[in-house]
Symmetry: C2
Subunit: 267 residues, 2 copies
DNA sequence: GAGTGGATTTCGCAT
DNA sequence: ATGCGAAGTCCACTC
């Protein structure tokens, strides 16, 4: 027989709680793996890969159910201090301040937050099964090229994707209408010299092992002037692709696997 | 004569407001450049460099006074959707949902959030002048090497830092005890093949323009196995440095400028 | 505004 | 665990 226990209200909100009151509510929330949201005056110490100190001020602090931590100042997209998921937390009162300590195991790191005033404390469990989908990634471009190789040039035939070479993976590899080997490096945004060097390295590695001519094509929406100079001097080429159009193209056949797109056999 | 206006309470907190009530409070907050914190059920569309859709679920939404936007799900360090500072915002009611739209000018991007339920709304101005200081950055290592060149090796004499070469900037450049040119690339953490290639590129560029032998040293706390192989095959070398120790060393003389550390003249 | 490189990058994937 | 590369990366800095 089922016993109905009293259901704890989902959203707990405390306005300007005392530090002792806040301590109790936060500890409860940690036990129950509730998300904790605090707006208050605090100072922060971080020790780990680097170290940092943040002097007192009013901030927004979030501890999520997965053990991630965010400390946000009044400005900026990025948190001033944080920890990725997986931390465990300790709390205690100390000289008129409430301490929340986030501890990470590997790498060993700690973030310690000292509150001397809390304006808002809220703890809750977020119910969120909503699907997240994103378009116009590098993978979408890759699929579009495999699906419609003429994006690169007439007569291009892809043979493999994510092909392992000595120094890493080639995004797409195939042959042109003259039968020459073609290696394609894909970037979803303006490419700089790094991408050119990366492609050059792949070409070098393949030339050495295959012992024949290899064409290198950088497929991206844009290329910087200096990168183009370098590209040209290395005998490589650039093909403009529009990530959005690629993404739209791919969306029509999104049920297909990448491997279905390959129509030619290895040469 | 000064007129005392009624002071608006700093922290406004609304528990489960109606969408219409929330709309008014949010619009007020935007006008007054207050930070807006919302916990509620929403769905999100993003269009810009890429596109994304997030189906309904409960999330934490923050709009900061500088026009940055964060949408956080119940897990993870990173926001699921966001905008960096500088957005402007529009709000309106629409078919039983409250819409908050963030618009960025360059690149042109929009994030649209539709709420159909709000559990917590809070608006406030954070007072935060607290200084933030961080230690053990790549710059700290650079300073430590300039301050105490024997970190690299006995007899090493730095000559320049951030020296411009054809393909970028060399972190530190100097001569060894034999008078050979030395180029040092600094990384604050484990280095992979990219850093090796970067150093190799600098060496190549300098060799070409200087027309003489150049030694390359990668200074970092660690190097990956494959990166070490590549390093060796390219005739470069690795020097282990501890970012923390470098940082401590630097802290003792943090009032000095980098340029004060250079004791030798250009050769 | 473009271009470059760092970051307590984080994240995911493969070895 | 290590290694590697992408990311709507963001950000600071230079030209």
């Amino acid at each position: 027989m089922a016993i109905l226990l009293p259901v704890k209200r989902a959203f707990l909100i405390y306005e300007s709680p005392s530090l002792n009151e806040a301590l109790s509510r936060i500890e409860e929330a940690f036990v129950e793996q509730r998300t904790v949201l605090i707006v208050g005056r605090c100072w922060v110490e971080y020790r780990g890969r680097a170290s940092s100190k943040l002097k007192p001020g009013e901030r927004i602090v979030i501890v999520k159910e997965d053990g991630s931590l965010l400390v946000h100042r009044c400005r900026g997209y990025e948190p001033v201090n944080w920890q990725p998921p997986g931390c465990f937390f300790k709390t205690h009162m100390n000289d008129n301040s409430l301490t929340v300590k986030a501890i990470r195991r590997s790498p060993r790191e700690t973030v310690i937050i000292y509150f001397d005033q809390i304006y808002l404390l809220s703890t809750f469990k977020l119910i969120d099964e909503g699907e997240f989908s994103i378009y116009a990634s590098e993978e979408d471009i890759q699929k579009a090229i495999l699906l419609n190789p003429s994006i690169i040039e007439d007569g291009f035939t892809p043979i493999e994707y994510e092909k392992k070479v000595e120094s890493g993976f080639v995004d797409v590899y195939g042959v042109d209408k003259e039968g020459r080997m073609v290696v394609i490096e894909i970037k979803r945004r303006t490419v700089g010299k790094d991408a050119v060097l990366q492609l050059a390295r792949y070409i070098e590695s393949i030339k050495t092992s295959a012992g024949r001519e290899v064409r290198g094509i950088l497929a991206a929406p844009q290329i910087s002037g200096e990168a183009r100079d370098l590209l040209t001097s290395l005998g490589l080429s650039f093909k403009r692709v529009d990530p959005k159009k690629c993404s739209e193209m791919f969306r029509k056949v999104k049920d297909k696997k990448i491997s279905d797109f390959l129509q030619a056999e290895e040469v």
